[in-house]
Every structure is written in C-alpha cells, then in structure tokens.
C-alpha cells in the first residue's frame, strides 16, 4: 500500500515553501496545516526544520509536541539533529521517526549509532539530490545550500549498510516546480534499496504521483506545494490513485 505524505518545511514559527529548496514563501501555520492534512487522510506527516542545521540550532520541541498531540498518524521530524540526545528529545516530544541528512554526511557512523539505539524503523536517511548530468546526482546538505561532493547512489549504498530503515529523497532541481518527480533519480534509488523509499520534489498534477509510484516504484510520496496551495486535497488525490488501481488508504 502506497503512502501519501504531506511535507511541511518549518522556518521559525511558520511553514514555508522552498522553490529549488532555496527561495522561500510563507504558506501557513504548522499546527493548522498538520490538522487539516490529518483530517484529510494523510498517511503520515513530515516536518523539516529547514534552517535548524544551517544555524546549528536544535529542533523546536514545543512545536513538535503541540503538533503530535493533534494528529494520530506517524510524524517524521528532521532538521538540526546532531546527537543521540537530540533524537531522544524529539521522540519524547512526540515524533515517531527521525530524518537525518547533514549530520549523517558529516559523520556517517552516526546513522549506525542511531539505528542501534532506536531501531531501523525510526531512522530515515534524508537526501537532497541535485542532478549532475545523466544518471548522476550529488548529495547536498543544509536545505540544498551546501555541496558535499558525495555521489547520491554511493551514499545510499553506504547508508543502507548502516541499517537505516527508510530513505526520503528530495530532488532539489524539481522542488517547488510542480514539473513532476525526478523519476530517474527515484528509480535509481528504489532499484538498490531493500527499505522503503519516499520520493519528494516536483509533485504537480495527480498524474505525477501515479508516475513516481508506478514507473519509479516509490513506496511513498511526499509533497508540499500541491497540498499547501490546495491544488487538490489529499482525499481527492487518493480517489484518483485508487481509480488508477494504485493501492492507497481511503
């Protein structure tokens, strides 16, 4: 069964929408959006603090707590996670899973340590990928600002060895464009991943969801703009996918 996951980018007290991960627009308040998506049939919700890691800040625990009290589906939180203690605090505030990008790249064995402590089901590898020509992507960090020199596919293989339970991949090139997911990128990762892959970046028409689920074999899809700006509701999207013979929770 495929999951439909609204992804909220948090900056300070607001939800923002990055375009190519960088230019930001304020789209609303996290708590109201999370509640709306929960009522509307979101299978999970992802919260990413997009500047926490850049400024060396910790995640906003109060916000996580307030949101998690209002929704009864799994909540994944990322941004600014640097220590085992950070993870424990975010989980205690009500998150179910933790997405890690920047600190994993700086210190890869941290993934292993996190998996051993909290279980594979709790640790999500978060990748921001930028295309570098046919079949090649570079991993970026800090909300698409910093280059790492790491090849995305090599990095995925390495992180899988550390035991991560899920992979969330954002295409920086497609983020906020509504041009469709980077199918080649998602396909390259699903082809080698024994764990579920959540695709993000580029959701536009309802067909773009179908394409990434069927053609690129994504296990779950995350999207922001199309839900924030009410192109259609999650319920409408799920009805469409169901008619296209894609297994979703209605």
């Amino acid at each position: 069964m495929n999951r439909i996951i609204p992804q909220l980018h948090i900056k300070g007290p607001m939800v923002v929408k990055p375009i190519h991960t960088e230019a930001l627009r304020i789209v609303g308040e996290p708590i109201e959006l999370a509640k709306r998506y929960y009522r509307d049939g979101a299978d999970e919700i992802i919260f990413l603090d997009i500047v926490a890691s850049l400024y060396g800040r910790n995640p906003d625990l109060t916000l996580i707590e307030v949101v998690s009290n209002a929704i009864f589906v799994p909540l994944t939180v990322g941004g600014g996670i640097r220590t085992i203690h950070d993870i424990a605090q975010v989980l205690r505030a009500g998150a179910d899973k933790i997405a890690i990008n920047t600190h994993a790249i700086k210190n890869p064995p941290f993934l292993k340590e996190a998996v051993e402590q909290f279980g594979a089901q709790c640790i999500v590898l978060f990748i921001e990928a930028k295309n570098q020509g046919p079949g090649k992507w570079e991993a970026y960090t800090d909300g698409g600002r910093e280059r790492t020199g790491c090849d995305v596919i090599d990095w995925v293989k390495r992180a899988l060895d550390f035991g991560v339970g899920e992979i969330l991949v954002t295409s920086i090139d497609r983020d906020g464009t509504r041009r469709g997911y980077d199918l080649e990128l998602v396909r390259a990762i699903t082809a080698i991943s024994p764990v579920p892959v959540i695709a993000h970046g580029g959701a536009g028409t309802k067909e773009t969801f179908k394409d990434v689920l069927i053609d690129a074999r994504a296990d779950a899809v995350a999207a922001s703009s199309v839900f924030h700006y009410r192109d259609y509701s999650i319920a409408e999207l799920k009805n469409y996918l169901r008619n296209e013979k894609i297994d979703v929770r209605l």
């Binding site: 069964m1 495929n2 999951r3 929960y38 299978d43 998690s68 009290n69 009864f72 589906v73 799994p74 989980l91 205690r92 505030a93 009500g94 998150a95 179910d96 909290f118 279980g119 594979a120 089901q121 709790c122 339970g165 899920e166 024994p194 764990v195 579920p196 296990d219 779950a220 929770r249």
Partner: protein, 215 residues
Amino acid sequence: MSQGGLTVIVDYGVGNLRSVAKSVSQYIDSWIITEEAGIILSADRLILPGVGAFGAGMNGLKIRGLIEPIKQFARTGKPMLGICLGAQLLFERGEEFGPRPGLGIIKGKVVKLQPTEKNVKVPQIGWNKIAAPAPGKWPEIIFQSPEREPMMYFVHSYIFEPTESQVILATSVYGGQKFCSAVRQGNIYGCQFHPEKSGEAGVTIIRHFVNLQNG
C-alpha cells in the same frame, strides 16, 4: 469518558511512549507512565507498548524487575493491551537474533515476516487492512468498528504465531503472507499494528480499551 480506574503504560526503555500516552489522554485523565512494579500491580488497565527487537524488550523488562509483576497482573483478569513489540512479548518465545523466552502469557512464538511475493519489503512500514477471523468476532470487544476491514499502521519485521487459533482476533495479508495481526485471550489483547498511530479507526480501539472494566 472512562468508567474510572488507573490506566498504566509500562516504560521499559524501548520506543515511543508519548504517542500511546497522548492517545490515552484524549479519553481519560487517570493514566500514568511508569517503570515501577508496585504501580503496575495497582493498575486497573495495563498497556505494554514498545518498538524494537524482542531480546532488547525482554531485557528492558528484566533489568527493571518487571517480568513477574506483568505476569502477575495478567493473571488478575484485568484488561491488558500489548502493542507491536509489547504484543510480541506476551508470547512464549521470540526468534529475533536467536531464540529468546518471552512472557509466556499467550501460547505461541514470534517469527520473521516472510512475504511470498517477490520484491516485497521487510520491514512492513505502512497501512494495511485487518480483518476478523470470522464474522461476529468483533462486536462488543475493543475492536468494534464501523468499518468491516479497518486500516491500521504497521511497522514490523516479525509476527506472532499463536498455538491456539481461537485467540486470533484479526488477520492481515502482506506480500501474499497471511498473518495474525491481533490476538485476544480473555481480557488480554495484543496488536501487531499501532492503534495510536492509525488515525480515527486506531484511536477508537484505544478508546474502547480504556473503558474496559475488570473481567
């Protein structure tokens, strides 16, 4: 609202207790998270949550001296609910990272999830249907539901295999493999899925449970 009494959530060092607590706190005020044997024995209802490996779970109970108190509680006939790993621990043994004894409250063992179809991922992470093993098996218990086959959220690599089929309360199918997704033995319930993360259908199970009375 609850008909009274203390609902106790057992903290044995594995997993996210907060999401269980927040679902419980929607319906009742009288609840507590504890790792103390005395409080467990004074509970009117017990919830054993948990995620992670079977051995780590039993070890977490053991170092806190909670194995005997939980077994003792189970013998009282008061309502008890195991969730995910907490449900697996109710069985006699687990096979994750080698055979390990469990609490032995329900007869059976915990084995690896083995989908028969190709390209099906383990762990199962996501939503799946649960179905009653026979019509009429759900009314008047905590699984009463407006939907015939409600959807629940699963995160697991292992499943329980009860020895006696009459304890099977729900089944699910993953990658072609049919497995037992919930059990009931008297007032003791176990869910392989996470009702506290399964939207309205899931928290309805929690609501019914916190309203159960002794016996």
